[in-house]
């Protein structure tokens, strides 16, 4: 329960960077922080005080942490990196036409 405030703080920081900052790269950074907060919440939530879910040879031991949320988080981390790369590529391509990465300036170019 104590940790839940940490996740809320991290999530709100990411949301703040996503909404309030006009720099597009800062928006991608905020998205990364939001992702990381959710992944860390899943891992900390599924931690029941067991060991790493890897059997050791010749030992009977069954008090493991749940492997399913860890596998899902692993999937999410890889997908997060590739979506961040795609977003940065779009920002680079936008920058070739507008010479800026500021959201407000790009909006002003239209009017």
């Amino acid at each position: 329960m104590r940790n839940n405030f940490i996740f809320i703080i991290l999530f709100m920081l990411g949301l703040y960077a996503l909404i309030m900052k006009t720099n597009l790269i800062k928006n991608v950074i905020g998205l990364n922080i939001m992702e990381a907060s959710i992944f860390f919440w899943v891992i900390a939530f599924s931690d029941v005080g067991g060991e790493v879910a890897i059997h050791k040879m010749g030992e009977e031991f069954s008090k493991f942490n749940d492997p399913v949320p860890q596998a899902l988080t692993l999937t999410g981390i890889v997908i997060g990196a590739s979506t961040a790369a795609l977003l940065l590529t779009l920002i680079i391509e936008l920058n070739q036409f507008t010479d800026t990465i500021d959201r407000d300036e790009i909006e002003g170019l239209n009017n």
Partner: protein, 84 residues
Amino acid sequence: MMTATVVLENLLLIFLVLCAVMSVRFEEELISIIFLSTFSIVLTALYLLHRAADVALAEAVIGAGLSTAIFMSAISQIRHGDSD
């Protein structure tokens, strides 16, 4: 021994939030990216404390290694209209 782990985890959590605040707060992109890399390293240690070794390895390699390189290559291509 239990209390030492708890103290270490609390310190790492404080440092995590501090890194995130710094990464959002600084205006220059380069400093933000370096703080994002530090954020990933601290998160790796926290994953290890929560006994998730595979996720820790993935976060160390992807978050602190590859992501930083991709962000760097992106900001090296950005042109600012003021400079020319």
